[in-house]
Amino acid sequence: MPRPFVTHAQLPRGQAKIWMALLAAVLLLAPWVFDTPFAQAVLTQVGIAMVACLSFNILLGQGGMLSFGHAVYSGLGAYMAMHVMQWSGSGGFAVPISLIPLVGGLCGMGFAVILGFVTTRKSGTTLAMITLGLAELVFAMSLMFSDFFGGEAGLSGNRVQGRPVWGVDFKTQTQVYFLIAAYTWVCVGLMYAFTQTPLGRLLNAVRDNAERLSFIGYQPQRVRYLAFIIAGFFAGISGGMGVVHFEIVTAEVVGATRSGAYLLFTFLGGAGFFVGPILGAVGMVVSAVLLSEWSPAWLLYLGLVFMGMVMFAPGGMASIALWHWHWMRQAGAALLWPWYGALLASAAMAGLGATSAIEFFYHQQLQTLGGQPMRWLGVQWAVHQPGPWVAAVSILVLGLAGWVYCQKQWDRVWSQAMADTPRGQP
């Protein structure tokens, strides 16, 4: 397989500790900034998504295994965790709520042991197709076997059970958030540590050149299988965290839409970088929960952004961030700043024009507000007249023209700066 879009930079030892401390600080301080129950619910979901996307990236970015059915493991882990939570709440062996995600993780791992064996025997397209088949199979079964899956209504449980420990009874969203944040921090650390282990490195080798690996004496199949199990474990933890937060689990947690979302957003974040899925997870929750309320065109924006990212920045948002980092440190960057500003301004103009046109079109077609005029960016627009359309399209065209011009100028100044740099200096 030709060398794809992943690069996987390795951080120096000390730096990793700094990043983990930074993550801990962000996780601890976030609920003070976002203090309403809804905002904290969003933060909780971001934590859950982070673990899920990072576990998916063990397969995609590190192992080169394209899986269309990763939600199967997080979903089945969630179902088992819910069964345990229900059993614990109704008189069975009392399992502390803070251990429910771990239950999910162990069950996710168990399913990965069973299903992963057949999945990872081959690689490439065959593996992708098997994961697709298994995902559709499990989803179709979820509506049939109502004993385990609870049918269409799913299973619901109560996280407020037993006696409170140190005053923590998980009644409030804040307490749930801190539990999830703790699990997220630990899982991020563990998954990063995994990338530094020999198995993690072997996994990268399987991705890059499996044949050569087998020459050295390792079995690519075994490496893939072990990585699959580990990814299943963390996916299950993510599912268990979802059970504690939502207190309900329905068939959508094993659905193709969710698997597709993992794939989409991990890729958008940047599959070639460890931090990519973290960015992608934030994007996943923001677009699903917030963007869909702001605009009816959110799926269209998502699709277009995704296609654009695949074509122009296959390394994802993380690669864009890295690009910024590189040119800003470049000697002679001072000359580049004005053109960067100009590029940003043209992109903003083009974006404004495009989104305005799309919003106008949606409003006209959907008419969800009846005869009510359209409000966009705080102004009322008469969408039935040509005026706003002309304005939107002309802003779009101006922005695109500006982008093309600034791009040329940027290239000119950049090559000048490269030529002027003495050898041996960054």
Binding site: T36, P37, F38, A39, A41, V42, Q45, A140, L143, M144, G151, E152, A153, G154, S156, N158, V160, K171, T172, Q173, G242, F246, E247, I248, T250, E252, V253, A288, V289, S292, E293, P296, L299, L366, Q367, T368, L369, G370, G371
Partner: protein
């Protein structure tokens, strides 16, 4: 002393008046949480428009003098998303939630609202169910904070079987339903009620197909024909119903269809002229009710170029207005107490919110699909056809017993 006593009484009287007037002009926010994307998007957007239309109408004229504001939130037919939507709505100060598309979401909301109300006294929220008809919500899963304004599956089946027992030409029935809770309930109650009223009728077959996935109903029609059935009972909706009847016409099955959801967005267009005189619907309304309803339907059609069929929304606004006037407050705890057992007159006659289980008892209609004419002129989605009432069922006919053990606070 008398001065201070009198002034105290005066103050009290004045403040009482002030309190009684407190809700006049107050805005009551109602959050509508249902799908605006995906499978049910056309139904969802029709219902949101209906609620917003009625909020306008009732804001101008209701016994409590309040203003209604409807906030629509898309839940993408997902229970997890609905919980987010609920939290978002509560953050915006909303204390009345309405939902009805999808029993899975309804179940999740009932659960979440029960837990929230228990954990947060003083911030209670009420759930007004406009269309989720799973009988469990007024039986095993009943809740003081949940009020159902649609007739549930068992009630509709009671009425349907009352109609069918008087048709001697019905001898063999086939049950074809979607394989999820709604479909299972329809099949279960059909067998039970018809078995009770006409034990001579044979159930010659029963099928459960996956929801909204089957495009080709020809195999099912072939099976129905091979079984010799003359009638099909189905709870199918949307494309499942439309394709079923289309396949029946093509496959040469000429029996009757008894359905729940012929009138819902999309099915009239897909039915077209097919199924004339053979497709029946049981519901709490029909297209040609006359009076205020006809006027509003016409206005709705002019404004939105869509058909209004969610009559339960009218019940909801009627109840909110009456209850708020009776309780003299918009506080959900007081309003719930006022709605508990409240009787009033709505568009389809006298209705009662039964105390036992918060299931609205109302009149039901059996209607049949046929050409629109001068007497029954309203034609949905410009098909030239309409649903014509053939029998009216008083509330006591469709009233069903309940096993609800409601915990009142």
């Amino acid at each position: 002393m008398s001065l201070s006593f009198r002034s105290a009484v005066l103050m009290l009287a004045l403040s009482a008046c002030g309190w009684a007037q407190a809700q006049k002009g107050e805005t009551v926010k109602v959050a509508w949480i249902d799908p605006l994307s995906g499978l049910m998007a056309p139904v969802g957007s029709n219902q949101l428009k209906s609620f917003q239309f009625l909020a306008d109408k009732f804001s101008q004229n209701n016994p409590a003098g309040v203003k209604f504001e409807v906030i629509g939130i898309d839940n993408k037919l997902s229970p997890a998303e609905s919980l987010n939507a609920l939290k978002s709505a509560m953050d915006q100060g909303v204390r009345y939630i309405t939902q009805g598309n999808g029993s899975s979401v309804a179940g999740a909301l009932i659960d979440a609202i029960n837990k929230h109300n228990e954990r947060n006294p003083g911030k209670e929220v009420i759930y007004l169910n406009h269309s989720a008809v799973d009988p469990d919500f007024t039986n095993s899963k009943c809740s003081y904070w949940h009020f159902r304004f649609d007739a549930d599956t068992s009630m509709k089946m009671e009425a349907m079987s009352s109609f069918m027992k008087d048709l001697p030409e019905i001898k063999k029935i086939y049950l074809l339903n979607q394989n999820y809770s709604h479909g299972h309930q329809v099949a279960k109650y059909a067998k039970e009620t018809i078995g009770r009223k006409r034990p001579d009728i044979q159930f010659v077959g029963e099928d459960l197909h996956p929801l909204a996935q089957v495009r080709d109903f020809a195999p099912y029609i072939a099976k129905i024909k091979a079984s010799g059935a003359d009638t099909v009972i189905t709870g199918n909706w949307g494309s499942d119903l439309a394709l079923l009847i289309k396949a029946a016409n093509e496959g040469g099955f000429n029996g009757k269809f008894f359905t729940y959801y012929t009138g819902v967005t999309g099915t009239p267009t897909a039915l077209g002229k097919g199924g004339e005189g053979r497709v029946y619907q049981i519901a709490y309304n029909h297209y040609n009710m006359g009076g205020q309803m006809a006027q509003w339907m016409k206005e709705f059609q002019t404004k939105y170029k869509d058909d209004f069929y969610t009559g339960s929304a009218i019940h909801i606004f009627n109840y909110l207005g009456e209850a708020m006037a009776k309780a003299q407050s918009t506080d959900p705890v007081k309003v719930a107490a006022a709605m508990h057992g409240l009787k009033l007159k709505s568009f389809n006659g006298e209705v009662e919110m039964r105390k036992l289980d918060h299931q609205l008892q109302q009149t039901l209609f059996m209607s049949v699909w046929q050409k629109a004419d001068k007497k029954f002129p309203y034609n949905p989605e410009n098909t030239g056809m309409t649903l014509v009432p053939v029998k009216t069922f008083e509330p006591y006919i469709s009233s069903t017993p309940t096993s609800c053990q409601m915990k009142t606070p």
